[in-house]
């Protein structure tokens, strides 16, 4: 049976089509104003890629913050369950899954079957999510995708006091005025976000068999800061981290 997993995220909608435990197609579109419409568009794209028609799909399971907004879904699963299932499917040894998305982040402890044992979440505050790096990139006047590479060129650690995105914007502006290197500010931005993410990881217990998922795992500056903060030389990052939860959702539809 062909199943679809749709991760209706705050920034993007991700769709994964699966058949008998194999990924058939993936698609991603911006969530925009109407999440249901965007999900429909993403599903259409994935179907086209797989050369399938809508009728071929046996069941559709949604996850993500807009998971309840999709009227044609068969079912929905929590973000933590979807992320854990997807991560263990891709990396069977993973026991801690760290999901850093556009507006939320969570640390999940799971068993070998991908069942959630414990989780801690950071939500409703932009400072603990990708929205933080996005706002800081704007304040630094660099494109978001360059923020990570920029921070890797940093030569010194500078403190950032603000714990709130809005206050951090002003702090970044005054750091720029005081002639602080943008690379060093970028690093401080990632250090701030990772310290908040790592605190969540410590609440569920740190297991070295961890995997980073969610769109922010694409950011090499965050990954580097995360490694430093958590004290591990190697941290596994999912290959297409933003699709992990959609894969997990598609698996539950099976």
């Amino acid at each position: 049976m062909i199943t679809a997993g749709i991760d209706v995220g705050a920034k993007t909608v991700k769709v994964v089509l699966m058949e008998d435990g194999k990924i058939k197609a993936k698609a991603k579109v911006l969530s925009g104003f109407d999440q249901e419409e965007s999900a429909k568009a993403a599903l259409g794209q994935a179907l086209m890629e797989a050369g399938l028609s809508r009728e071929a799909i046996g069941s559709i399971v949604t996850t993500g913050n807009g998971r309840k907004a999709i009227s044609y879904a068969t079912d929905d699963v929590t973000e933590a369950r979807a992320a854990a299932l997807g991560a263990v499917f891709l990396y069977p040894s993973a026991r801690t899954v760290i999901d850093v998305g556009a507006e939320e982040s969570r640390a999940i402890k799971c068993d070998p079957s991908g069942k959630v044992l414990d989780f801690a979440v950071n939500e409703k505050c932009a400072a603990g999510s990708g929205a933080f790096t996005e706002a800081m990139a704007r304040a630094l006047e660099v494109p978001l995708e360059e923020l990570g590479p920029l921070s890797l060129r940093s030569t010194q650690t500078i403190p950032m006091n603000a714990q709130c995105t809005v206050f951090a914007e002003s702090e970044v502006v005054s750091l720029i005025h005081s002639k602080t290197q943008k690379a060093d500010i970028a690093r401080a931005v990632h250090d701030g976000l990772s310290s908040r993410v790592v605190a969540m990881v410590r609440r569920v217990g740190l297991d070295p068999e961890l995997v980073l998922v969610g769109g922010v795992a694409h950011n090499p500056g965050f990954v580097e800061s995360f490694k430093r903060t958590v004290g591990l030389d190697n941290v596994r990052t999912a290959e297409e981290p933003e699709f992990v939860a959609a894969i997990g959702a598609a698996l539950t539809a099976g």
Partner: protein, 289 residues
């Protein structure tokens, strides 16, 4: 390039007592409140308000402190060295070069509120530029319970400035405009200012007027502040200080939500911190400190 309008700006000014002759005074004490957004200097002569200024804080605290006291002393004939004791307070309190002592703004706001609104005040809410404080005090203005939220921009003047900029509406007009709606909308659901901004944009796209969005944001802020106050409880009489006290869009909604009217005062709500600092300076002067 067209000049950018700064919608969050407010007006600076200074005031002096029209009749008082400071040269007849025995004790001259001052308080300087260097806040994150505004700075005030206030001079007491024998425990009575002689002069004050209310200015925007510059990029550097010592300069802001000097500007504030010079503003208060302007055209009074009084010089800095006539002041016998100065207390610094606020965010930049340790950077007031001519202060004899620094005292936290919590203690100063309570003391200032006690003077401004009378000894029956038990609950003081200070809504400042970058923080929000809830304080309980006794009949002498001594703090008995407090909390300060300076971590998060929601519920602070900064959050309101972000909204003013987003909607291109001068900050002083927000309160009145927020009542020019056919019916009171549901409050904005996001607490975080960053998320509330996206939510506001979404509401505009779905056809809400700017005034509706302002109403929804003011009521969200009132709700948030009432929850914060809930931690220490609200005891009559209730008094509001700080810049947001001048925004009826938040104040009236907060009063409605709490079911309690805030005490009105003849004084500018923004001088409470500097006034409290000056009162401590006056006390310390009398104690011979």
């Amino acid at each position: 390039m067209a000049e950018m309008q700064e919608f969050w700006r407010w007006t600076e000014y200074n005031w002096r007592h029209p009749e008082m002759d400071w040269r007849q005074g025995k004790r001259i004490a001052s308080g300087i409140d260097v806040g994150s957004v505004s700075s005030q200097a206030l001079v007491l002569v024998d425990g009575q308000i002689f002069a004050f200024s209310n200015l925007r804080t510059g990029s550097n605290s010592p300069d802001s402190a000097h500007k504030a006291i010079n503003g208060a002393l302007k055209d009074t004939g009084m010089e800095l060295n006539n002041i016998k004791y100065t207390v610094g307070t606020g965010y930049g309190r340790v950077n007031v070069p001519f202060a004899n002592r620094a005292i936290t703004e919590i203690a100063c706001h309570a003391r200032g509120a006690n003077f401004m609104a009378g000894p029956k005040v038990r609950t003081v809410l200070d809504m400042g530029g970058q923080d929000c404080k809830a304080i309980h005090c006794d009949e002498r203005g001594k703090v008995s319970n407090f909390l300060m939220n300076d971590k998060c921009a929601a519920g602070t003047g900064r959050g309101m400035e972000v909204m003013a900029d987003l909607l291109s509406i001068p900050i002083k007009d927000i309160g009145d405009l927020s009542y020019q709606v056919d019916q009171e909308p549901q409050p904005v659901s996001s607490t975080c200012v960053v998320f509330a901004k996206s939510e506001a944009l979404g509401l505009m796209r779905s056809g809400w007027s700017k005034n509706m969005v302002l109403a929804a944001y003011c009521s969200a802020m009132a709700h948030r502040v009432s929850l914060l106050l809930g931690r220490i409880g609200v005891e009559d009489q209730f008094f509001i200080t700080g810049g947001i006290a001048k925004n009826p869009g938040v104040v009236k909604r907060l009063e409605k939500e709490l079911g309690i009217q805030a005490v009105k005062s003849q004084y500018d709500s923004q001088i409470a911190g500097a006034l409290g600092a000056a009162l401590f300076a006056d006390t310390l002067l009398q104690k011979g400190a």
